[in-house]
């Protein structure tokens, strides 16, 4: 399998070509498509492999961060804003229309939004030209490696994004994109358990293994888990004390599948991503979900119901992750795309955006205190906020090798097939 990377040069932000021995070797690893050859070549040169490849795809991991290859120059400094239309590709309801209207007014342009509901399908459509946006919202680190491999992105010119400094410091040089060549973080969230405080006591999660509540048959027909094989199987692994969210150990994966089946027998949980509507509506008591969903849920509370009925248990060791903006290589309005990133990483604009989206912007300038003082988050949901400590303790998910991925999928099918 070959990739479309230019393997002979790297380009810095000013367009100057620089080539380092280490970069050459890294790219060689990528284009030869395997750890074995790359590793042996590196070893032969007296170095060690610094790139993880799965199925020929070069990815960054927290242990082995990656500086992604660059095949095209970022736009030059000081260009004028384009006029007309800026096309964005986004998840549904994942940006505040009011924020977009403000941006349109400020820059005198029109923003046209296309929606995607599954990252893999979106990448396929970006590759075959069905989607031709300027700017993509909400991509994950697993999607990024594919987008770069498909030569779909262009590097960012951060001179247009002075607000980049607002980003959480630990995410300014993330493992999946060292030096943030292609990405600027958008939202941050962690995996945990949302629950109704009027039906479940907070101590149920802290007095013993908090995950056990999801296996408690008294919540039969009133519980849910994420329709996300990686997240939900990993949750079952964490419950059993295995904290490798990317494990390739067949026994651990099988055990997680068996544990989920036991949960199914005990509680008949819903498997979807609707915790943000079902918990506030009172249709569920408990749901394994993303922390950001609980903030979104506040908007779905029936009239007269206190926001304090929503609670979240943030496990001490769990997956905490972020998504990001990235710019397409063939963007027709790249300057405006940079401007929108900068606009949404401004602290005030990010707060306005958060008021609609619910999720927590990945900005260090937005502190827990600030959010609490804003009055938009009830005390009961303080635990749903990603604090610097939680981010530091985060477990990460990376792309799995196809064979390992098949093991995970098999267990997921065993669970969902009922």
């Amino acid at each position: 399998m070959t990739t479309k990377f230019n393997t002979t040069k790297q380009t810095n932000e000013n367009g100057a070509t620089k080539m380092r021995r280490r970069d050459f070797l890294r790219n060689l690893v990528i284009t030869t498509g395997g750890v074995t050859l790359g590793g042996s070549l590196l070893a032969a040169c007296g170095g060690s492999s610094t790139t993880t490849t799965v199925g020929g795809l070069a990815i960054g991991t927290p242990e082995q961060p990656i500086k992604l290859p660059v095949t095209t120059q970022a736009i030059a400094d000081g260009l004028a804003n384009e006029t007309g239309v800026l096309e964005i590709l986004n998840w549904a309801d994942y940006v505040n229309p009011e924020s977009i209207a403000l941006f349109e007014k400020q820059f005198g342009v029109k923003v046209v939004e296309s929606i995607y509901d599954e990252e893999g399908a979106a990448i396929a459509k970006l590759r075959n030209g069905t989607f031709k946006p300027d700017l993509i919202f909400g991509m994950s680190s697993t999607g990024l490696a594919k987008l770069v491999s498909g030569d779909i992105l262009q590097p960012l010119n951060k001179s247009y994004i002075p607000n980049f400094g607002n980003v959480i410091s630990g995410l300014q040089n993330p493992y999946y994109d060292l030096e943030s060549q292609y990405t600027v973080p958008y939202m941050i969230y962690g995996n945990g358990i949302g629950y109704r405080t009027d039906r479940i006591d907070k101590n149920a999660f802290t007095s013993s293994n908090g995950y056990d509540v999801l296996w408690d048959s008294q919540y039969k027909g009133k519980s849910g888990v994420l329709d996300s094989p990686r997240d939900t199987l990993a949750m079952a692994m964490f419950r059993a004390g295995n904290f490798d969210a990317n494990t390739s150990d067949p026994a651990i994966i099988k055990q997680a599948g068996d544990d989920l089946i036991a949960m199914r027998e005990a509680t008949n949980p819903k498997v979807d991503i609707l915790a943000y509507t079902e918990l506030p509506a009172g249709n569920r008591d408990i749901n394994f979900t993303w922390s950001g969903d609980l903030f979104t849920a506040l908007q779905y509370l029936p009239e007269g119901v206190s926001p304090e009925v929503l609670g979240f248990w943030y496990p001490p060791k769990t997956i905490t992750t972020n998504d990001f903006f990235c710019l397409t290589k063939n963007a027709k309005a790249p300057v405006l795309a940079h401007q929108l990133i900068n606009f949404l990483t401004d602290t005030d604009n990010a707060l306005l955006n958060r008021s609609y989206v619910g999720y927590q912007p990945a900005l260090g300038t937005i502190t827990v205190d600030m959010l609490l003082k804003s009055g938009t988050i009830p005390e009961s949901l303080v635990d749903a906020l990603v604090t610097p400590e939680r981010y530091e303790a985060a477990l990460s998910q990376v792309t799995l090798d196809p064979d390992v991925d098949a093991l995970w999928t098999d267990q997921w099918i065993a669970f969902t097939a009922g």
């Binding site: 396929a124 027909g221 329709d227 199914r264 949980p269 249709n283 097939a417 009922g418």
Partner: protein, 293 residues
Amino acid sequence: MIKSPRLWTGLALPGTTWLITLFAIPFYAVACVAFGTIDPIFRDAAPQWNPLLWNLDQAQNILVSLTSGPLRGVFIRTVVFVISAMVLSFTIGFPIAYFLARHAGKRKLLLLSLIIVPFWVNYLMRMLAWVNLLSPSGLFSRFMSMFGINYNWLDGSPTTVILGLVYGYIPFLILPLYATLERLDWRLIEAARDLGASSSEAFRLVTVPMSKAGLAAAGVLIALPMFGDYYTNDLLSRSPSTEMLGNQIDFYLNNSTQPQNGALLVLVMSLFLAIFMSLYLRSTNRFAKETVK
């Protein structure tokens, strides 16, 4: 009579083109995905267009899963759900169609319209409306609780999904049945009654046999989409205990890195339904011959 074979060939051309473009080629593409491979980088389907190079290993895995693995339960459940929904649909739909054809008189058109009008509304909207009505705080649930019936319709129970299937597809059963019953020669019923048959005997021995073609057509019309249905379960349940084959196809194609498994399930289901379709065609053919005699 025109005897030019070219003309008949020409008349068949639009239909043949339609069949090739919109059925044969897409179906072949599904097969190429099913027996193809996966792009190791993008994890999407890499169809194998050359049948000589088709990879049958995954097909074997899926067949094993369907016969003795995790998909076996899903397959059986799908068949049970569809059969239950069909029985219920016939139980509800036949009397309605019969009444419309036989007793509605001048109000026939009005009643027919009243049955059809709700189905002009988008399926998704209708189901979402039911989700609201059936939720524990919904109007229907509150109404039922006035009579002491406190049932959580949306707790992922098979009953709700089966009722959802019935509600979603019943007009497609009523309309062809009505069309068949309306054309029945009712004098034959009267003759049966004159010859001493009770009303139930006349219905069993005359009406039902004569409406066999309509019953079969209506059955096929609702069974085919029900087998592939996944959104009814998505909207009304989302529980593993009500997962249907369509949900598994949806998962494999849209949310997994094994789209070839989704394509394989499509082929298996098509084959399964083709058997029923051929039985239907044989029975209608036989019925037509009997009618001519």
